[in-house]
Subunit: 412 residues, 2 copies
C-alpha cells in the first residue's frame, strides 16, 4: 500500500455573499475531487485545535503528525530550511525583510517596494559578515523571494528568546531587539542583533544596487527587519517513526523546509512554481513517476492560499479546479486498491478577511479499507457529515499510516 496526500493550501473557506453564501469549494467544478469523495471517507479537521488560526508552519507540522504546541518555537528556522539553507541543531533562524528606512532608522516601507531587482546580490553582501565583538558567531544570510530573506546565526552561547526588530508597521523606528528571558545567551543574542541591524544598514546604504534604485526612483533596500527567532526542535523524522520512504512535491519554500525537516526527500518539478500559475499536471506526473520508489508522497499546492490572501474569489475557484486536474490525473494513474489518496487543506483562509482562520478544513481519504460514508461532494459543509467526524491535524498521519499498516501497535 502507498499513500498520496494532497494539500490545497488555504483551500477551505467560509460561505460568502458573493457566492450566494456558498464557499469556493461548493461552487468550483471539481468532478475528480467529488469522485474521490464518493469513494472515500470524509470529515472535518482542526489543524491545531478548534478555533485556533494556524500558520502554514504549525499546520504542516501538525499534519505530519507532530504536536505543534510542543515542537514549535517560531518560524525563522523553517524559513531558512525552506530557502534550502542547511540548518543545524542549535542554529537560531530568522525571517527577514529588506526594508526602506530614513536616516533615523524610521521605516518608510517594510518591503522596500516588494519586488527588488538585485535582491540576491544584496543578500550576498550581508552573508558571512563578522561582528568584531562576536568573532565566533557565523551570520548566514540569504535572499529568498521578493523582499524576503532568511538568516541563521550559528555559534555557541546564542538563544532564540529574543524579540523582533520588525515593528510590523511603517512610520516607526526599527525596534531594538530585547531578550525575552533572563539568560545571558538571550541578552548576548539581542545585543548582537542590534549591532547587526546597524552593520546591515551601513553595508546596504552604500551598495551599488541601491544607487541604481535611487536613479530609477525606487525605494532603497537599505535595512533588514528581523523576526520569528527560533531553533529546530528535536523530533524523530516520519521516515523513522513509520519506517517509510517519503517524498515531497512542494515548490513553496516554507513547506518544503518543513517536509525536509521531517525526513522527506524533495524533487524539483519544472513548471511547479508555488503560485497560482503552477503547472499542476507536471506535479501530478512527477508524483506518479515516483510512486514506485516511495511509500508516501506529499503534494502541496500553494496557489489557493495566495488567491485567498489576495481576496481573489475567481482565482481561488480556478485554483480548486486546478487541484481537481491533479486529482483527475492521479485517479487515472493509480488504483485505489493499492494507493490511499487523501485530500485536505492545511487551514482555512478567508476570502472575506484575507487571513488564516481557525475554522476546520474538510478532509477525504479514499482507498482500500476506508469506510465509505456516502458523502457526495467535497466541501466544508458536506464533509462535516462524513465518517471521520471531526479530527485534529495531528491525527491525520497516524490515520493514513494505519491504512498502510505502518502504525506501530501500542500494547500487545
Amino acid at each position: 500500500m502507498k499513500c498520496i496526500l494532497i494539500i490545497g493550501d488555504g483551500m477551505a473557506d467560509r460561505p460568502i455573499k458573493e457566492l450566494n453564501w456558498k464557499t469556493p469549494l461548493q461552487v468550483a467544478t471539481k468532478d475528480a475531487i467529488d469522485e474521490l469523495t464518493r469513494r472515500g471517507v470524509c470529515g472535518i479537521m482542526d489543524p491545531i485545535s478548534p478555533g485556533i488560526p494556524p500558520g502554514s508552519d504549525t499546520a504542516h507540522l501538525a499534519i505530519f503528525g507532530y504536536d505543534p504546541t510542543k515542537v514549535y518555537n517560531g518560524r525563522g528556522v523553517f524559513e531558512a530550511l525552506g530557502a534550502g539553507m542547511k540548518v543545524l541543531l542549535g542554529d537560531v533562524g530568522f525571517r527577514c525583510n529588506f526594508a526602506t528606512v530614513d536616516d533615523n532608522m524610521v521605516i518608510l516601507d517594510r518591503r522596500a517596494g516588494r519586488n527588488i531587482e538585485g535582491a540576491r546580490e544584496l543578500g550576498e553582501a550581508l552573508n558571512g559578515i563578522k561582528l568584531k565583538d562576536y568573532p565566533d558567531v557565523q551570520v548566514i544570510f540569504e535572499h529568498t523571494t521578493e523582499h524576503r530573506c532568511a538568516m541563521i546565526l550559528r555559534g555557541k552561547g546564542l538563544s532564540h528568546k529574543v524579540s523582533d526588530s520588525d515593528p510590523d508597521t511603517a512610520g516607526v523606528r526599527i525596534y531594538d531587539v530585547k531578550s525575552l528571558d533572563d539568560s545571558p545567551e538571550a541578552a548576548r543574542t539581542a545585543a548582537l542583533l542590534n549591532e547587526l541591524t546597524k552593520r546591515f544598514h551601513e553595508i546596504l546604504r552604500k551598495h551599488p544596487i541601491n544607487f541604481i534604485r535611487k536613479t530609477n526612483g525606487l525605494p532603497q533596500a537599505n535595512a533588514v527587519l528581523m523576526r520569528g527567532a527560533s531553533t529546530l526542535p528535536h523530533v524523530k523524522p516520519i521516515t523513522e517513526i513509520y519506517g517509510i520512504k517519503a517524498l515531497a512535491v512542494v515548490p513553496n519554500a516554507l513547506v518544503k523546509g518543513i517536509a525536509s525537516f521531517v525526513g522527506m526527500d524533495q524533487i524539483a518539478v519544472l513548471g511547479a512554481t508555488g503560485t497560482v500559475d503552477t503547472d499542476i499536471v507536471a506535479k501530478a506526473k512527477a508524483t506518479i513517476e515516483n510512486l514506485s520508489k516511495y511509500d508516501f508522497i506529499f503534494v502541496h499546492v500553494k496557489g489557493s492560499d495566495n488567491a485567498s490572501h489576495d481576496g481573489n474569489i475567481q482565482q481561488k475557484i480556478e485554483m480548486i479546479e486546478k487541484i481537481d486536474k491533479l486529482v483527475r490525473y492521479i485517479l487515472d494513474h493509480v488504483s485505489l486498491d493499492e494507493t490511499i489518496v487523501a485530500l485536505t487543506a492545511d487551514h482555512t483562509t478567508c476570502l472575506g478577511t484575507r487571513e488564516h482562520a481557525g475554522d476546520p478544513v474538510p478532509v477525504v481519504i479514499a482507498g482500500m479499507g476506508v469506510r465509505k460514508d456516502g458523502v457526495k461532494a467535497f466541501s466544508e459543509i458536506d464533509c462535516a457529515h462524513g465518517g471521520l467526524c471531526r479530527i485534529r491535524g495531528a491525527d491525520l498521519m497516524p490515520i493514513l499510516m494505519n491504512y498502510l499498516g505502518k502504525c506501530q501497535k501500542f500494547g500487545e
Copy 2:
C-alpha cells in the same frame, strides 16, 4: 463583530418516558431557538470530556476556555466569589452549611431546616473571629442563600489540601478535618478548621436567633459544615487572552463568581433572580442595551437546572420556553451579520435522576461566517448531526472568538 453566548443551565436532558421518550428540548415550543438553529451551525459538546458529569463551576470554567482539570482544585473559592466576597490569590475558600447538631456534634439536619430566618446575622456573628493559636489568620464568613455560606481563610502558611468536615449525611458526627498531603501547611489548616468548628458551635448555640428558633420549634442552626477547600488558580482573564470587553448577565452567585474571576464585568438586572421566576425579558433588554459597549456578553439562565433538580418536568419545559423568549428578543434586536449568537447548556441535568450527568449538550452558533448545516431543531438528538460534530467545552470560546477575529494565530 460581537458575540452573545446564552447558557441554559442544566437545560440538556435524556429522553424520558413521561415525554413519550423525548427530551424536554424536543417537546418545548421554541420557535426562536429553532430559527437560530436553522440559521446556525450545530453540534454536541462534552463540557469536560465524554461521560464526565460536570459541576456548574468546572463546566463554566471549561466553557470560558480553561482546562478545568488544570485550573480547578475545588469549589469553595468560587462559592465565595459568587457571594461577592473579595478573594485574593493564596486565600483558601470553603462552601459551608448551617446545620443542626446535638451535644455530641452528631448531625441532626445538614441544612438546619433549609430556609433560615436571620441567617445573615448568624453569619455576621462568625465573621472576623480570631482563634488565639492562629492570630495571623483572618476568618471571613458570609451567609449566601438559605442554609448556605462561604468562608475564606486568609493568612500565611495555609493550604487547601484538607478534607471536608461535612460528612454529606445526617446521623453521624461532624468529621474531623484531615490534611490531604504531608505539608505542614495542610496539617496547620486542618487543625485550625477543627478548632473553628468548635468555636462556631459555641457562638451559634448561644446566639439569640437560635433562642427564637427554639421557641418556634425550628431546628437550631448551631453548627457549620465545611467542604470544598480550594484556592484561586493563576489564569489569564479572557479579556486579556482575546483582547475583548466582556460582560456577564448572571444573577446566580457561583456562575457570577466564575465570570468575574475570568475577567467579565457584571450588571445587576432588576427581576433577574437566578431561579425559575426570573424576568427573562429584563435580561434580554439588559443584554441588548449593553451590546454596543462589549465584544462578548454572556447570559446565564439558572431556572432550567433548578427545575431539573426538582424533577419538575413541566417547569423545565416552561424554562426552555422562557429561554426561547430571550432568544426571540435577541433575534429581534441584533443582526446576525454583526453579532454571533450562540446557545448551549453547561451540562445535562436529568429529570429522571435529578442530578448532573455526563451526556453531551447541544450547541448552536449562528452569525456571519458560520457554515450552516441544515439542522432544523435544537435538541440533544438533532444537533448531533450538525456541522460542529462533537466538541469539548474548552473548544467553545476559541471557536466563538475565531468568528470575532480575536483568536491569535499560532505560527506564521
